[in-house]
Structures are given as C-alpha cells and as structure tokens.
Symmetry: C2
Subunit: 143 residues, 2 copies
DNA sequence: CTCGATATTTCATGTTGTCAAGTAATTGGG
DNA sequence: CCCAATTACTTGACAACATGAAATATCGAG
C-alpha cells in the first residue's frame, strides 16, 4: 500500500515540485544565455555524449521523430550540429555536434550552476544522504 | 565557496535531473488524461487554490501576461474557468474555476500519483529526512 | 523480387511563448 | 478637478515545439 495523502508525503511532493520548477527555470536560463531554447540545449547535450540517429533522439526526449527534425534543423542551421549518413543503414541519419557545437555544449554544462548553488547549503554528509535517498526513491541500484 | 564539479555533487545533480524528468513526464501524462495540456493543468490547479487576476497568474507561471490570456481563453471555452470582474478595480479580471473546473482540478490532484509511487519506497523516517534535506537545499525555513 | 516494416521528412494544425501596440481604468501631482 | 503616467488586460505577428498523417527511401525476410 503506497502512502496516501498523509501530510508528510504531501509536503515532500510539494518540495519536489519546487525543485522541479527551479531546475527547469535555471536550465532554460542557462540555455538562453547561449541563445538556445531548452529543447535545443537538451538535444545538444545528448549529442555531445554520443552522436545519435534521429529516432533515438526522439526516444530520449519522449517525443515524435517529426519533432526532432525541426529541432535538429535549427541546430544545424546554426552550425552546431551536422547530419551524417550511417554507413550501416542508409535510412538512418546520425546527428553529431560540430566542433562549435561541442564547445557550446561544454560551455552550457559549465554554466549549469543551478545545481551547485543550492547544493552548497548542504554538507558533504548531507549530500551523500540526499544522493542515497534519491537513488532509493528512483529505484536506482546504489552501485 | 560552492562545491565544484566533485563527483558527489555531479551524481546528485544527475539524480535531481532524473527526478525532474520523471516528474514532468508524469505531470503531462496526468494532465493529458483529463484532456489538458501541462500549462492548462498548472493554471487550473493554481486557480483551484484561489481565484487570481491574470497578472498574478503570469507571475506564478513566470511568463508574459499575454500568454495567460490564451491559456485562460482555452480553459474558459471548455467551461472549466470563468473571468469575473474585480469589484475593487475594473481593470482587473479574476479567473476562477467553475464547478466543473473545480471537479477537474480535484480529479487531477488525485491522479497525480507520481509522487506516491516513488515515495512509497521510502520509510517514514527516510521521507522525513528527505523533506529536511530538500528544505535546507531550497533555503526554506523548516517551520 | 516483392512485401511489410523502419527511418526520416513534410505538411497541416494546435499550444505555448515573446514582444509591441492598443484600450480601458486607476492614481497622483498640480 | 484634470491631465499625465501607470497598470491590467487583450490583440496581432511571429517563432518554437508538439502531434499525427502521408510521402519517400531503404532494409530484410521469404
């Protein structure tokens, strides 16, 4: 039986809602500083980890592939991303960051200070505790 | 000196990112079940707590007032919200949920189980701890 | 080779968001 | 009282994001 609407759970949910709102806001702000929208920043970040086919990007973003076409179009027209053929399957186009895109992704990552500022209020022990609690909450294997 | 990119902080940030993604996804899903968009659900929820002038809604959503006009238009055309004059200031329009809107808001609140399910993995003691850590992180007075 | 499935794009459409301009009502200084 | 500045809201133009349906090209199995 999952916890009902007890006041403790409601309070925690509310706090998580606040965290979510603040995270989103700061993410959009950081993206805007590099003249990117949130969606563009998320795709660029994804591709900076590894070039991906369009279809895979859509899966990561949980949206329709046709939507990704437009986002990558805009990133490509700004020279941050390029489409490459997939040698193994000519239907597939791999989106990969250009050098400029990789630099932008790195700058974006660095400027995501939203995380450091609020976490700075916690001691190392507290951060460790928070990490463990979030892992358990998300059902992630601690190791 | 706020913590730098030490691996602990990076891990916690990553976990928070996961929480944010899951929260958003489930919020949109719950809204969609009531044929609402996320933005419409957020406004309806706000108004279910208290009728608000358009300007105030924009402040809560951190967007331009002109944007709120459209969102409230759509909610109004579906009979979930109505605009009332403010007796104290004839420039102001108060947006308030209709009976139908209030019922929808309540149903929406109930179906937001995203919070209960993951929190169910934590004991009461852990939830209390998580609450306190989030409060400290957000700089919220614990009481 | 042919047929069904897959990857991507294009198009139509709707929602969300911004900004600039316009209307209506309030407020405060002279 | 009166006028000017301010405030609240709406409108219109435009861009990004999102979906769904249809078109194109390629793949893979039989």
């Amino acid at each position: 039986m999952t916890p009902r609407a007890d006041s403790l759970t409601v309070e925690v949910v509310d706090l998580i809602g606040t965290v979510v709102a603040r995270y989103y806001e700061e993410y959009e702000h950081a993206a805007a500083e590099h003249s990117l929208t949130g969606a563009q920043a998320r795709v660029l970040r994804l591709l900076s980890l590894e070039p991906l086919p369009m279809r895979k990007i859509a899966q990561c973003l949980k949206c329709e592939p046709s939507n990704v076409t437009g986002i990558v179009d805009r990133l490509e027209s700004r020279g941050l991303v390029e489409r490459r053929p997939d040698p193994a399957d000519r239907r597939v186009k791999l989106a990969a960051p250009t050098d400029d895109g990789a630099r932008t992704a790195e700058a974006l990552r660095t400027s995501l200070d939203f995380a450091r500022e609020p976490l700075g209020r916690l001691t190392v022990a507290e951060r460790t505790l928070l990490k463990e609690l979030l892992q358990r909450m998300l059902g992630v294997a601690p190791e």
